[in-house]
């Protein structure tokens, strides 16, 4: 055993020696205390930045750009701001699988201390992290999407997903010929349950006896349900086979599978977050009845604009029907015949006549 220990010891000494040598960094990694890394980072990143233009930092949760959904919507808001506002450099970082709160904190801190201001955290997973980091950098403006973390320099961009989902639920109930519709949720988390609650209530307001199949693809901590089109397809297929003729998906990247199943079954599907009759794969756009718009891009753009204008306000900004933060889409003209009815419901929700449950 002793010999083995010595072997292991030698092994790691070799490991570190090797890494040092490769990195040609003089072997002073043990000294600690100095802040060389952050200096390096600042030097590297500040070079091309304009003098006083806002340097925007964006931290995604798992998935990052390319999920065709939530994260991409945030990215779209950033892109729009880049094009229309006078922004300096932007930096986007993304979370890895299985990481801890400390790692999320470090990501926000890295952005803040490297001169990125404002810093936007995408997703509720940053809740605890942003509270701590925002307290350390009082002069930096932070924003978090989908979370109510409080702080004097934290803006909360939250959405009334249940209200938007109510409208597409009503649309589904008005359009169904079999009085049987479905809902496919990506992961069974409170956020997605809000979509379900609004959808079911909306459908029931039109047809109290309507049958709504509900299926979640995965349960936490397995977040694969947001990025598994095959699972989405299977779930939706099951609903169409069972007699549903319209399925609403709130499943991020898995939604593509739901659209495919709708196409195979010659039935309808309802998109989510973006106007998916424009953003989904071209071959399935024709099956999209409407989409529940959650305008994360607008929220990100508004926040950046307020920063540039110097009018950032801390605390929650709720993007609901009234504020135009959620809505239903009319692309493709499939809901033109019922648009008036949907607008009536919309007005009732805005006026407070209809209260939409969130769970």
């Amino acid at each position: 055993m002793l010999r083995n220990h010595a072997g292991k010891l030698a092994a790691t000494t070799a490991v570190s020696a090797m890494l040092m040598a490769v990195a040609a960094c003089g072997g002073d990694s043990g000294s600690g205390g100095t802040d060389t890394a952050s200096q390096g980072a600042t030097a590297a990143s500040s070079a091309p930045a304009a003098a006083d233009a806002a340097k925007v930092g964006l931290a995604y949760d798992i998935g990052g750009r390319g999920d065709q959904s939530f994260n991409d919507a945030a990215a779209a808001g950033l892109e729009k701001a880049k094009a229309e506002l006078k922004l300096g450099e932007t930096k986007e970082l993304e979370a890895g699988a299985g990481e801890t709160g400390a790692q999320k904190e470090e990501r926000l801190r890295l952005l803040a201390q490297s001169g990125y201001n404002p810093v936007i955290a995408v997703g509720f997973a940053y809740s605890e992290a942003i509270k701590k980091v925002a307290a350390e950098f009082p002069e930096v403006k932070f924003a978090i999407i989908d979370d109510a973390a409080q702080g004097p320099n934290i803006s909360n961009l939250v959405f009334a997903e249940n209200e938007g989902s109510f409208l597409v639920g009503a649309a589904a109930a008005l359009k169904t010929k079999k009085d049987h519709i479905g809902f496919v949720g990506g992961v069974q988390v409170p956020l997605i349950k809000k979509f379900e609650a609004g959808y079911v209530r909306g459908a029931q307001s039109v047809k109290p006896d309507i049958k709504v199949d509900v299926k979640y693809l995965t349960q936490p901590p397995d977040f694969a349900g947001f990025n598994d089109p095959a699972k989405g397809k299977t779930a939706a297929q099951g609903m169409y086979d069972a007699g549903a003729d319209i399925v609403y998906q709130a499943a991020g990247g898995s939604g593509g599978g739901v659209f495919e199943a709708a196409k195979d079954a010659k039935a309808w599907a309802i998109g989510v977050d973006s106007d998916q009759a424009l953003t989904a794969d071209a071959s399935v756009r024709s099956v999209i009845l409407t989409s529940m718009l959650k305008k994360v891009d607008v929220a990100v753009f508004d926040f950046l604009k307020s920063y540039v204008d110097g009018t950032v306000k801390a605390g929650p900004t709720t993007y609901d029907l009234k504020a135009g933060g959620v809505d239903f889409s009319t692309t493709g003209g499939q809901v033109d015949d019922i648009k008036n009815k949907l607008d009536e419901y919309k007005q009732k929700i805005i006026d407070g006549e209809i209260k939409v449950p969130s769970e």
């Binding site: 055993m1 010999r3 083995n4 220990h5 010595a6 072997g7 292991k8 030698a10 092994a11 790691t12 070799a14 490991v15 090797m18 890494l19 490769v22 990195a23 040609a24 960094c25 990694s29 600690g32 205390g33 100095t34 802040d35 060389t36 890394a37 952050s38 390096g40 980072a41 590297a44 990143s45 930096k91 970082l93 993304e94 890895g96 699988a97 299985g98 990481e99 801890t100 709160g101 400390a102 790692q103 470090e106 990501r107 801190r109 890295l110 490297s114 509720f124 997973a125 809740s127 605890e128 979370d147 109510a148 409170p190 956020l191 995965t218 349960q219 936490p220 901590p221 397995d222 769970e359």
Partner: protein, 378 residues
């Protein structure tokens, strides 16, 4: 050569002298070369990339996070290694620790006791739940002969479902915005941190001491006790163990439960040292990280510690790559390459040794017909 590939893979066959040094060096060189090639193909400078990683890890705050993650990884790898030493592949560490952490968090949040007792009760619950969950696979194996690889993977899925069911408002959890988690554990149930690294207010998890003690216990139990001897003997050859009077079924049961009990502690550093609540964003997948690190550390407590540190270093310093426009996924490639390199390098060195040994023996045989061949020492 009398040892099997599995024996060599799991570090049961030792190398001595220069060869013991050759294997890890070979592994590192190989991993370094492969990663450099990938970086070059991607248009990045390998030296600059390694430099960025190392530079970033010199920040005191990052060092604390590296130690903290490594503590968790270490416990996870130890849990896996206990099974490995007996040819038991506990793929279920992931489910075991998640379920244990969830229930321990709920218990810890519901009670209030004097400091050490509160922490102790929470940890005890975690150990019990971890062991209990693993015992299902153990019983299935001993009573019905179900492969523990299959049963533990399926139990992971069941643990996910059970956990999701328990983690809903009205059962073990409370709603907190869009997050849902157990009631936070009060100050008396929190494991105090240690101000180990100067230059930062962030503290190292106190659980690092528990992890170190676990490593010592692992070494002592395996190498200095009757149980450890039986365990290693069963791992090397089940039939030989039976012949020498070892009750293999009992050993399977005990080892699996022990592995699960240690797995129960995997979530404790994070739960008792940082989050104080089990919620949707509690780290998942650590059981699989543990498998990789146990293989990398060749089931040796010190090897695992070094593996855990290296893994944690790569996990925690990769944001700086993203920051500088280098895809952070390169780190995942590095981790995979290192594990494979370690396995390949040790196998190559073992084979080299076997061939050299055979040559030596045949030389001796041909030189003096009377000289008896030396036994190949295992």
């Amino acid at each position: 050569m009398s040892s099997s590939f599995t024996d060599r893979l799991l570090g049961r066959v030792r190398l001595s002298g220069l060869l013991a040094l050759a294997a890890p060096i070979l592994a590192i060189v190989f991993a370094g070369v492969v990663t450099s090639i990938i970086l070059l193909l991607n248009g990045n400078d390998p030296l600059a990339t390694f430099g960025l990683l190392l530079d970033f890890s010199t920040k005191p705050r990052v060092q604390v996070i590296i130690l903290n993650s490594a503590t968790t990884y270490y416990i996870s790898a130890l849990a896996v290694a206990i099974g490995f030493r007996m040819n038991l592949f506990n793929i279920g560490v992931d489910g075991q620790y998640r379920l244990a952490a969830l229930i321990a968090a709920a218990v810890g949040g519901a009670i209030t006791l004097p400091g050490p007792l509160h922490v102790g009760v929470t940890m005890l619950v975690a150990v019990l739940i971890g062991g209990l969950w693993a015992s299902i696979a153990a019983v299935l194996k001993t009573a019905r002969g179900v492969s523990e690889v299959i049963s533990t993977i399926m139990l992971n899925a069941i643990a996910t479902g059970l956990g999701a069911w328990l983690l809903t408002p009205g059962r073990l959890a409370i709603l907190n915005g869009n997050n849902v988690g157990t009631k936070p554990i009060g100050p008396s149930g929190q494991f105090p941190g240690i101000a180990l690294i100067p230059g930062t207010p962030v503290k190292v998890f106190g659980m690092i001491i528990v992890a170190a003690l676990l490593g010592v216990a692992y070494s002592v139990v395996l190498n200095r006790t009757r149980f450890g001897f039986d365990l290693r003997a069963t791992g090397r050859s089940e039939s030989a163990a039976v012949a020498s009077g070892v009750n293999v079924k009992k050993m399977v049961l005990y080892t699996m439960i022990l592995s699960g009990a240690v797995a129960g502690l995997v979530g404790m550093p994070q739960l008792l040292g940082a989050s104080y609540s089990y919620s949707l964003d509690f780290p998942a997948g650590l059981g699989f990280t543990g498998i990789a690190i146990a293989l990398m550390g060749r089931n040796n407590p010190i090897g695992i510690a070094l593996g855990a540190l290296l893994w944690s270093f790569l996990d925690n310093s990769n944001d700086i790559l993203d920051f500088n426009g280098i895809p952070k996924e390169i780190v995942v490639i590095m981790q995979g390459t290192i594990v494979l390199s370690v396995i390949v390098a040790y196998e190559l060195v073992h084979r080299y040794r076997a061939v050299a040994e055979q040559r030596r023996v045949s030389r001796q045989l041909s030189a003096g017909a009377g000289t008896p061949a030396q036994e190949v020492a295992a």
